[in-house]
Amino acid sequence: MNLQIVMLLGQDGITNGAIYALLALSILLVFTVTRILLIPQGEFVAFAALTMAAMQGGTPVRLGWLLLALSAAALVMDSHAAWRRDGRIAVRRGPALGLAYAAGLTALTTLLPLADAGVALQALVTMALIVPLGLALYRVFYQPIAAAHPLVLLIVSIAVHVVLVGVGLLMFGPEGARTEPFSDGGLRLGMVMLNSQTIWVVAVSLALILGLYLFFERSLYGKALRAAAVNRLGAELVGISPELAGKASFALAALIGSLSGILIAPITTIYYDSGFIISLKGFVGAIIGGLASYPVAALGALLIGQAESFSTFWASSYKEVIVFTLILPVLVWRSLSHHGAEDEE
């Protein structure tokens, strides 16, 4: 192994690690606000990548139909809840607008010639599809049991993941896809050739992290979400709706997931079920951060990226084994520094 290979692997590791770090942050965000381990995080990634690929390949974009179905379900559940509460069926504006939006977007993605729209517009459309998808997922699957035992939330997460993978196969088929890079060429730094997509990934990740930082530090909604993460009941008592907090965190998770998918699609071939393995590496990062610390989780995810990249070189077929075994020492260390039994909510 010479320096060039080291640089090449390191660059690969940074690219993947940056994506894992984004996912780890989003997993942590959702977990601290809602106590939900967002196992379906990976599906946002895969769906975004495959939707981009579908647009570029000129095949039909079917993601709108899923959004439409979920929005319709949300509307029905909302009306049902209103009926049980007030004894009459009332359609609230939010879910109705959601359904209209989903219908409109589905029509647009079906009718418009998106193949020639350019990467930027395609990415925009993809995010416009996936962010409301996150919202709708929370409304339909999690909101009715938001107060349940964490174990129940975890089980529902797994179930939603299984459903989405199945639907993914239905929408995108079993073939993998890769999209065009955002730009050609690269940047030569001394003896190292930086891949243009690497630069894109790192730049967008940094921008997103900065944006999240500003959102949580400066904006009222960001502060409300942080409050909900620190103390759910306390936040509710000062008027922060847990529904809003849940939906906002899911929308953010979907945004981060779809961006990750768009970024990773030109680097790796993505299949309908690739999201899980990718997001699981984000989970490993989150576990390294103790499901609590954002910076440690991001650093952990970067480390996973490097470990993965170098193990590809040394023991390619054992890559996943090595990466997932890495959590063992972390867990050992956490167990040793942990005391006493506590009841969970």
Binding site: L37, F141, P144, I145, A148, H149, P150, L151, V152, L154, I155, V156, I158, A159, V160, H161, V162, V163, V165, G166, V167, L169, L170, P174, I277, L280, F283, V284, I287, L291, S317, Y318, K319, E320, V321, F324, T325, I327, L328, L331, V332, R334, S335, H338, G340, A341, E342, D343, E344
Partner: protein, 624 residues
Amino acid sequence: MKPGVLSKTPAARPTVSMPRLSPSGWILLALLPVLAVAPLVLPTYQVTLANNIGIFALATLGLVLLTGVAGMTSFGQAAFIGVSAYATAYLATVSAADLPGPLAWMAGSPLAGLAVGLVLTLAIATVLGAVTLRLSGHYLPLGTIAWGLSLFYLFGNLEFLGGHTGLSGIPALNLFGIALDNAETLFYLIWAILLLAVVATLNLLDSRVGRAIRALRGGQRMSESMGVDSFRAKMTAFLVAALYAGLAGWLYAYTQRFVSPAPFSLQAGIDFLFMALIGGVGQVWGAVIGAASVTFAKQWLQDLLPHLLGRTGNFEAIVFGLLIVLLMQRLPGGIAGWIAKAFERRRRPTGVADSLELPTAEPLPRRPMPQKGEVVLEAKGVTRRFGGLVANRDISFTVRAGEILAVIGPNGAGKSTLFNQLSCVDHPTSGEILFRGERIDGRTARAMAGAGLSRSFQHVKLLPTMSVLENVAIGAHLRGSKGVAAAALRLDRTEEARLLDEARRQLVRVGLGQYLHVEAGSLALGQQRILEIARALCADPCLLLLDEPAAGLRFLEKQALAELLVKLRSEGMAILLVEHDMDFVMGLVDRVYVMEFGERIAEGPPETIQTNPAVLEAYLGGVE
């Protein structure tokens, strides 16, 4: 006679009931003849299906114990099956020459395969459990997901295990000269093992270890302070689940006679969880119901969906996933839970009894009580700081055997902080706490339970769905010693009878003797507090720490409680209570320790405290 008639006229109920068969006993009795004839009348295809269901149900049974009873969850069941199946397959197909000399006899031996498979499974489960079970509940599922995936890739890449193609050519199972070479004979083996496992699980749950496992869900802090090692109880449940998976893996290898990585993937691990949830994780029989209904539904969907969707693929996963979401939102008890509820509604379980059940077993041995007047508990200069706040400053007092000390003080005086330190839930910043002359600050609550310190909680902590008797029996946990194997094989009955008798005795003593078999959650708050005292007494303590025992009690109940405490005092018990109810305290205790703002303001017999100016100032805002 219909049971409904009896329950309307409780006086007519016989005082000694006939030994009745439990619902599980009835199910077994009904199931046995069906299983005996099934392979004789069913076509081979159906028998093979039933074999698969049996194997799946065995693995699912482990999840019922883990998820439904202990409140943990694991996606590693399929991977455990895989470890055992691969170990079995490898030893069944390897030639003796390929094994190192001393191990050569293992080649081709099914029992060696079983032993190695189980040992490997349990070893891996021990490591996984050791690193995840002390942490919060999310680490076990995440850990098992990671390990399930790793193992799948490992199976696929190891040359000697046949890589992705797997190992084939496993010879037919031959046990002690009996050839089990077709679906029909294997059927008997599989279902015999499954039923034995079901019975063993039922036995386990109805035992000392079983109570510890059942207390994991929502009662860990309470059971720890009664001396239960929660980590050990979690490990026990996890290992039993892994053991069932290991058995299932061995059966799988000899049923399929071929192993490959695919059936042991994470997806399969998720499927097992779905079987447990659909069947109903709260009931042992849910495992069988779940395995059967998922297997049948899967077959049906695999025929139906490709027609519907015009494509083939793993689309039944969509249906199962949605079903699980619906179940979690609407019917968390699964099918078995739903059936059990429907039955319960029809025949209400025995409620309040009209006569007391008398203890019959030999009483448990008791620890030597300290001499009356001996110092049992001593606080020496106990100070507890939280950052800049001093919650307790320089607290010193003693409690002697045969004495009741009350700690009183206005809200915010630091009584609860003090109580937590005395019961070893929290530890002093400086100062010492001595119990029978030994320093205990820094020890765990669990260690102190064994030493003879027993407590109640300010906010009642009990297991609402367990019976009053079982709740109280948790208090006697450390007075028994029988483990998992003894419980599963029913070798613990003498000890169990003595433990339950002790619980019965204490319940009769505190006046709850009529409520032995009532769900603890249905008692009134005052009765629940009394239950906590009975539970504490079950541990045979020499020091009782009671946190507001009279709160929520009615006048007569308070009187009864005071009588009980007086009686305990006369037997030489040392009692410390934190209380707000002045009437209750003043007529009962020997000495009062008064706190305000974390400091002592007075100490002495009730009469002098009642006229102490500092106390009056603290409570009434000063004497004009």
